[in-house]
Symmetry: D2
């Protein structure tokens, strides 16, 4: 599989980690999940991220998942390797790249505050994983409490040849995309692939602002693929029509904390996951919440037949 590139485009889905109701990794569901994303037409897959419940896995399980997914997937795999220390980051990165991953993703530890602290951290991380490993910055202030200005991202991209991508999930974030693209156009920084997260909540405008696509885990990856394609084809109205039809459900899934439970519930209902279970500490949906999701799915199915689920 080719290495992650600064010209990457399209949709890289964030994969949840399937567990059985007893709490072990569910390999059959994992295989089905990879096939499901392939059928949806995604361009890549990111595993072991925050919403992949990576911190709940032990080291052996994490490596096992990387091996299994890279072996099966017909597209590049990005592996989340964020760790409190560089030793664990280096060892997981090595294992992931050996197994055939295309690159890694690194989130900042929540203690970073100043521009210099952030830049220094990424310099250390880049040195730890090695220059030849392409990596994505995860820019997600709502979860990590670290705010990176466009100027900081420019410094990281300029200092570290391995930095090829930003998973953009700042909120608000539209002007940030425009600013980064401006730096690029003016020759002030190396090009980065910008893939947008944040549940996809602003994907309709993010592509118009110059983002290369999405890296998020919305439970209908087919929709993300269609939006990016239509936007690239300048079919603006069609892109927004599809986006707007999904927005009520997408917004429901994008709630902090409970979002992963919503996502796993829908993927379970769609027949991809054998169980919606999370490892502890887990969030659970009440019957009322499940009924709300079912209602949103039923409403969505009027516009997008893919949301029609077997009763």
């Amino acid at each position: 599989m080719p290495a992650l590139s600064r010209h990457a485009k399209g949709v890289y889905s964030i994969a949840p980690t399937p567990f059985t109701d007893r709490g072990s990794v569910d390999h059959a569901s994992l295989d089905r999940l990879v096939d499901f994303y392939a059928a949806a037409g995604v361009d890549g897959l990111t595993i072991l991220g925050q919403l992949g419940e990576a911190p709940k896995l032990d080291a052996a399980e994490a490596r096992d998942i990387v091996t299994r997914v890279t072996a099966r997937a017909p597209f590049p795999i990005v592996v989340g390797v964020s760790s409190p220390g560089f030793a664990a980051m280096r060892s997981l990165t090595g294992a992931a790249m050996d197994a055939g991953a295309a690159g890694v993703m690194i989130a900042p530890p929540p203690t970073l505050r100043t521009d210099d602290q952030i830049v220094t951290y990424y310099a250390g991380a880049a040195e730890a994983i090695g220059d030849e490993v392409p990596f994505a910055i995860q820019d997600y202030p709502l979860t990590f409490t670290v705010q990176m200005s466009p100027a900081v991202i420019r410094r990281i991209a300029t200092d570290n040849p391995g930095c090829v991508m930003v998973k953009h999930e700042d909120w608000p974030g539209l002007e940030k995309i425009s600013t980064l693209r401006g730096f690029d156009r003016d020759g002030e920084m190396p090009r980065l692939s910008i893939l947008c997260g944040n549940g996809g909540l602003f994907l309709d405008f993010e592509t118009e602002r110059g983002a290369d696509g999405a890296m998020t885990g919305y439970c209908f990856p087919e929709m993300l693929v269609d939006i990016v394609r239509r936007s690239a084809a300048n079919e603006r109205e069609a892109a927004h029509d599809l986006f707007d039809a999904h927005l009520p459900l997408l917004r429901y899934e994008q709630q902090p904390g409970v979002g992963l439970a919503v996502r796993k519930y829908v993927l379970h209902r769609r027949g991809v996951l054998g169980s919606a279970a999370q490892r502890a500490p887990a969030t659970h949906l009440t019957p009322t919440a499940r009924a709300e999701i079912d209602y949103l799915l039923a409403r969505l199915a009027r516009h997008d037949v893919r949301a029609k689920l077997a009763g």
Copy 2:
């Protein structure tokens, strides 16, 4: 005007404070704004909240606005009196109630962490403003970083007879409404009016969960009024249809930081505000952002004629 009640229902809009381009309070726009909300059918109005740029006003300006609005409005007025100290809170509350306000709203200072700290703070605030003044708790963790569990709200409501309302804007927040309503049903706490904020992002389900309505500043208060009415009338599909049509714009307006600029821009375009200006420190919309809002308005106008603006 009657005092704020624990049985309050409907829509209490959050009013922005109109400024001229030079930065002074714009009284003509303020009058127009009150008339606009009256025409929209709202049940009350909240002024001098976070999105009313209250901290940017000096004390004389704040009192002047309270007097002007209470004199003109045909509905109850809630006044935001959150202050770093109880002396200022007491004096602004006294002035507001003298001017004819129906009650006040109090947000927690961002330093509060434990349940006891929060309960103690509200006990102090209630003592400062006086037992006879009805008040609303503002429960908005995203902005204030203070997390109140349902049990804490129950303690505050039980301890303080003046506590009659919660402005609910936790996120996620649906289960919290259900839990509070359960406490109420089981006789474990005095009834509180629950009005939902957070831009209205979950209003479609919040009313179904038992909320009494909305207290938020979305730029189409008519829509909020219709949602609450349809929901009360059990017209579920009609409520969701209208909500979904507005959701793309509502989501755009609900971005932290930039949201007030969006709101003022639309209210300016709707002819209510003479200017979209904020007092410094202000956020500004780029031409691209304004074009995005115009596009959202144009799309919305196909479903809701009230969004059709004169070119």
Copy 3:
């Protein structure tokens, strides 16, 4: 009184605001406090800071205190004017300078994170108060959660001619002083007066690192004055001996939250304040805590006779 200068040296005490037991401003104690600082030999006084309970005063009280203190004091007065909005900051600054203050102090709002946000904020503040008003940056991350790197302070000092001082209370902070002094020596930034806060916990080394003195509220300002003098006179051992004798009490006073109660208790015991009362919300000392302070004072009195209190 001369304007606050970038060459200011010595000790600027942080003055508490005296209240009576009933909660009103205690003017007699305020006068006594000014005379006490004059007798202690301080070089200036800072009023209406965080530990001056400024947020608990209403606007009229704040102005009244400025007028009274500037009229009485034989040294320059710095006034804390931190406000959530620039309108209130401008109006308090104007009143303070009219009353004869030497300059103002501005703390960053706790929402600032990135370097650019901090620099932009101070540019806005400087514009609001006017170019001719000298101001001090308050760099106190423990309380304000805003972290300013030396490079950010350099940018603020370079951009704003009114910026003449930094109240340094980062923790750890010794290297920051060395770095700022290095910038100064290398001609990379205009000279700033560096006065150290943080209760004085590292004053013994801060002066050796190049700080110009102290700006803090320790209850024995005479000690701060002596340390700075001895350090300037290269009497290193004598400076440390005195510092070490005070450190047990100083450390006790420097506890977050409860510190002001300790300080007011000692100033009350020393006969300066008529009451140790704070305005609500207040922290209170238990009898055990008061006995601990008395014990520390008794131990200190063996080394420093000024700590000997009438029974």
Copy 4:
């Protein structure tokens, strides 16, 4: 070795993890360190805590250290097992107890805010490690941003029989000790051993308030042992005299971030550690900082001969 008990007393030192200059675990220094603590008279040792650089170790290294230390030490070993997920916590706990540890220590994840969240988290952790494993709560708000009121600690202690100890490092924290001891005396909660951390900054009064001793990593554990002994023997003046002599250095070591570098530097100078190196990301001492520490050691040596280092 007996299990960790709710009657544990004395000094449990927090051990740093020795690394060579090349970054590998330094086994010779680790052995020397265990012997050093034994000679100092400590009652136990805590390894793999925050200041043991635990997050920088990979899983195999962590287990190896546990095995080596428990095999050599003549006193009980507490192992820090804080992990982002319960799976890793369970597996490290199992390995530690199998190797002969006396119990484990669990810090709260920084996302916890409300009382219920904290209580729920410890219930989940207790279930994960198993009822028969004794554990200590680490109550360190400055680092973890989680504030536990005494009532929350009472709930955790009451709900979970395995909870036998609190590592108390709240700041301010003296009243918390008194409150917890009051609960105990009034039969409102099971007795907990209270061992104080926070660098020992208030140990002189903490023992007087009812704490059972210290659990901290100050570079002169002999002093901690002496303070606890003298305090238990009611030799109040002697305890304070020794404490005060160490306070200037102790305060220097207790600086956030840089503290571990100070501690390792002194332990290196004392001949215990072969190197003062930390694993990346590391903090480094400037030559000026090292000179300051040397100066503090020289001054301390006049009062405590153990601080006299070979030139």
